[in-house]
Amino acid sequence: MAKVSFNKAFCKSCGLCIGVCPKHIISISESEINSKGYFVAEVLEMDKCIGCAFCATMCPDCVIEVEK
């Protein structure tokens, strides 16, 4: 069991988290926009998350918290 949570207000849609996720479960939302006007990163299939924290390690804006 692992879980990532996004502090969406801080997300800048850079997509660096997407590039490092070994399970390819992160994507940029096509509908949700934050107050800065960025489409935010999201995980749709959380059950596939292994809690490696690669996404959080790569994120320059400290958007992601990981629990395992």
């Binding site: 660096l16 924290a53 790569m58 320059p60």
Partner: protein
């Protein structure tokens, strides 16, 4: 479930103004994590002029803004007056290697007991992408639009190599943050640079090869690839000086 990754305590809750995908944010996080590990009573940072000019908003400690390039001189003063404090300077390559070249060379030569985080993105980010002393041969910038030309602009400066020739510094390493493995290596280097200060070993500088997607005109992802494929060849990663090894 336990938390395996969270925001370092040394960072404030303010969102940064950096462009999407800019690795200044990563350099902040790595620095903050290294300081968190020290459990230090007093930490004082010195912010540069450049895109990181607002670093004083983001680090959760006392901060002093220095005039352009003067961060190592200001950090020297602070450290000498408050020797118990952990003092670090955070600088870009325009700040450190252009206008601030004298200050960094002399702080290193004096072996000041400070830690310098040097973010090298090979360009002036804040002012709109002009050529820096670190801009690579052939690399485009707004002041060398067909790429840096040796005949006209001379050669780039390799700061880590140059400073490591001095007797003063304790520890100089060049790292990169283009993938998770290298971010972890960078963390180790920065941890060590701060630990050296705690142990009173003298001047430590970590050069981080960083991206400026905006002024490079690349996507954040392509910028990381550019660091890996191009920058790391011109600026090889590694430890350039480590007197802690010589003592051992």
């Amino acid at each position: 479930m336990a938390i395996v990754f969270e925001k370092p305590k040394m960072l404030t809750d303010k969102p940064t103004h950096y462009c999407p995908g800019c690795t200044h944010g990563l350099a902040h996080i790595l620095t903050a994590k290294a300081i968190d590990k020290l459990n230090a009573k007093k930490v004082i940072g010195v912010a540069p002029v450049g895109c990181a000019v607002f670093a004083y908003e983001y680090f959760n400690c006392d901060m002093q803004e220095a005039a352009h390039g003067r961060a190592p001189a200001v950090a020297t003063g602070i450290k000498r007056v408050i020797p118990d404090a952990i003092v670090f300077a955070y600088q870009g390559d325009g700040d450190l290697a252009s206008i601030g070249m004298a200050e960094i060379v002399h702080a290193a030569a004096r072996g000041e007991n400070i830690t310098v985080i040097f973010v090298n993105n090979a360009i002036y980010g804040m002012t709109g992408g002009q050529m820096a002393p670190t801009t690579m041969i052939g690399q485009k910038a707004t002041t060398c639009q067909s790429g840096r030309d040796v005949a006209l602009n001379g050669y780039p400066i390799h700061v880590s190599e140059m400073l490591s020739q001095l007797q003063g510094p304790c520890y100089i390493e060049r790292v990169a943050c283009y993938d998770v493995k290298h971010i972890k290596q960078a963390q180790k280097a920065i941890d060590k640079a701060f630990q050296n200060q705690v142990e009173g070993r003298g001047f430590s500088m970590i050069e981080i090869l960083a991206t400026c997607p905006t002024n490079w005109g690349m996507s954040p992802q392509d910028s990381l690839k550019y660091v890996e494929d191009v920058m790391c060849k011109v600026y090889p990663l590694g430890v350039y000086k480590d007197t802690t090894k010589e003592e051992a």
